[in-house]
Symmetry: C2
Subunit: 436 residues, 2 copies
């Protein structure tokens, strides 16, 4: 346990010094174990497992453009992202680990107690057993605090989901090398540091029920919210029922506008993202050496909530958001979620709604502004700027059918039910709830 976060930083530096990892971009052709499938051009592992990169053709009435096709990661299996919690001297502590992921900026970030794909459990990697996994697999000891199936980045994953769990441990928990107990206050301080608390930790923590949050930081109960639960669920149902998402899986070779060039799959415009290969040499992971394809986004993204006090209670402007890989038409997303670079050449009317309000806000209205990474196991240096920006007092209470104001408490309740809140909104909510 750390009395101050400076002690954590010293420990983290030691962890870093003791490890040696190398991640080297490498051409997709010739990547060890991976190849372009003849005919389709899909990128697959020779075992047929892990994941593949294929194509998808999308038509929807809920995005800036009506139809497009793109490469997408297909990974049908769902893994476990699990955090153990235990009270010491009456204060809940969360067990996190220093984990290497090839796509991470800084390579090492703070990860949940368990972050494992089903291939990890079933030992496709032929690596070491996953520490603490027994706390998360049935039959288990301990008490469930949170357990839901949650979708991940719909722009890059087709219907991918992971099981997000928080388990309160019974009895003594031995602390293994590379793991540490942190309080919510300490995690809240570390959330101020760029690219340290990884995506998986943030999404799991977003599901922590309000009673567990830091005293005095929980916000507005339902009674003081603009809309009741029935109205919020109805808004979500209406959005799902009124929008459409038609998609068709296609061979990667047939994705229009994309092509392989110099061992990388890129869009002709240079926008969106690239599919790259990396060679990895790692210590402290299940396997010491491997290669894999990754998605490398072009430019830093923006994930932002507009906020407003309504009758004294903080509200967030939530968007019903459709993405190529959405599990079911759409989920609740942040007010703005995009990579601004993709829209720079476009006229103002084609830019994502509320992006300009967020980026041009006066400094005193910026409540939260921190850079974090997305999952380093599949995404290479995928950074987002997480923002919360107070809207002007005269900002309308109704801004059309695809946005609604709800309190952080209400959004947190939605997180407890699988597939209601997308990963970007969950991660931003975790920053809002816990960042100090």
């Amino acid at each position: 346990m750390f009395r101050q976060t400076s002690e954590f930083h010293d420990w983290f530096a030691e962890q870093r010094a003791a490890q040696d990892h190398r991640v080297t971009p490498a051409p997709l052709r010739g990547l060890d174990g991976w190849s372009f499938e003849p005919g389709t051009g899909d990128i697959r592992h020779r075992s047929g497992r892990f994941f593949s990169i294929e194509g998808i053709a999308v038509e929807t009435d809920n995005r800036e453009v009506a139809a497009w096709s793109q490469p997408i990661i297909v990974q049908p299996e769902s893994g476990i992202l699990g955090i153990l919690v235990k009270e010491f001297a009456g204060v809940p502590h969360f067990l996190l680990q220093v984990k290497m992921e090839p796509g991470n900026i800084n390579i090492l970030q703070l990860s949940p107690t368990v972050q494992a794909t089903r291939s990890n459990f079933t030992r496709v990697h032929q690596g070491n057993a996953v520490p603490y996994l027994e706390y998360f697999l049935a039959p288990r000891t301990g008490r469930v605090i949170f357990d839901a199936l949650q979708s991940e980045q719909g722009s890059w994953f087709l219907g991918k989901r992971n099981r997000n769990m928080i388990i309160e441990a019974d009895g003594d928990v031995p602390v293994r090398d590379g793991f540490c107990w942190l309080t919510l206050d300490q995690i809240g301080e570390l959330l101020n540091v760029e690219n340290l608390v990884n995506m998986d930790t943030r999404t799991v923590l977003s599901g922590l029920p309000d009673g567990w949050a830091v005293q005095g930081r929980t916000t507005g109960a339902e009674g003081r919210a603009l809309h009741g639960k029935a109205a919020l669920l109805s808004w979500f149902t209406e959005a799902k029922a009124s929008h459409r998402l038609d998609r068709r899986r296609i061979p990667l070779a047939e994705v229009e506008g994309w092509a392989e060039s110099d061992g990388v799959v890129v869009h002709g415009s240079g926008r969106f993202f690239e599919v790259i290969g990396v060679d990895v040499e790692a210590q402290g992971r299940e396997v010491a050496r491997w290669a894999q394809p990754m998605i490398a986004p072009v430019g830093r993204g923006v994930i932002a909530f507009l906020t407003r006090r309504i009758e004294g209670t903080v509200h967030l402007l939530v968007n019903a958001r459709t993405e190529a890989g959405s599990f079911d038409v759409l989920e609740m997303g942040p007010t703005v979620q995009c990579a601004p670079a993709n829209y720079e050449a476009l006229p103002a009317g084609s830019r994502p709604r509320f992006l300009d309000e967020v980026l041009s806000a006066a400094p005193e209205r910026v409540l939260l502004d921190v850079v974090h990474s997305e999952e380093g196991g599949r995404f290479y240096h995928a950074e987002n700027r997480y923002l919360a920006v107070e809207a002007p007092d005269d900002f309308p209470l109704e801004v059309g059918p695809d946005h609604i104001w709800m309190t952080p408490h209400q959004l947190g309740e939605m997180v407890r039910y699988s597939h209601h809140v997308n990963v970007e909104a969950r991660n931003l909510l975790a920053c809002l709830r816990f960042l100090r």
Copy 2:
């Protein structure tokens, strides 16, 4: 408004006398507008709309058999099932209609205010406008009480869902011919009558929040429940994460064990169901004359909850149930859901779990026993016996990972979130909550 339900029955008899409907079974070959598609053998309408009957091959670890294939209804569009509610003299009244459906036993049953497919709205039928639809389409007046996307019979529909809505009307609501206002007490009495309150009415009413239910009949708040919400949601997540449902759409002609014989698609064993054709002549519907295929189940089904008082609070034994057409692996179902005739020839060990407990219960343990029909628009004379049977006092609190005890209140809360509770459990819950 009816002072007594006898007045309702008189009115209903008048409605019946004023209408004239004929439903005649007819061979699938030659059914007006419908044909077997060359090559696949799928049954489709010449317009390409409404629905089709295709094949599906299923593999799962959550049913009595590991793999099978079967015909299934494919109907991607979702409709609206909506009930208007309004207080008269302080008592909520629900607007129901007498509606003809070709598969209904007795032809006429009591239906929601609006029961309309998207084809109805968009006028594919070229029939009359749907009365009261404006109360359910945005932008609308009134107050949302309940609004969720709910799955329908997974044994016969592939991922079919309808929007279930309850809207409290503002201002005067003109009562059209064939419609009537009923209180929950009156609906509760009518639920004792076989095949009168249709499936769509029952599923919509299952979503009525507890505050609206009849005084003194709401059951056990969460505090007195065996498991809290986090534990119930975790059980559901665990079941979804640990079971698999792999399926592949196949041509109807390739469904093993099924074949067309005398204008009907049947299983070689005579079990399960038949796909039949019907010719319909109707008054009071959008179109006066049409033909369509229907699913005609073999034998009456059983839909049952085992119940138990735990520390004085009534609990229901809920099953994590997978079906061929499940939207997402499984949903919360009743303790038992099957057509017993399908299992008669099988050894006791192959019979559905708890079926014998339910069917052999002493009469004083049978809390509810009433026969109702499933949707008469797609299913022909599909009757189920809805049962609630009190389990012996020594019945265990844990009966394995696929069942869990929860209170009616808790199950009702799950209904408010789409795709948590299957249609059979919702309909049985409506009987349990409202039947007098």
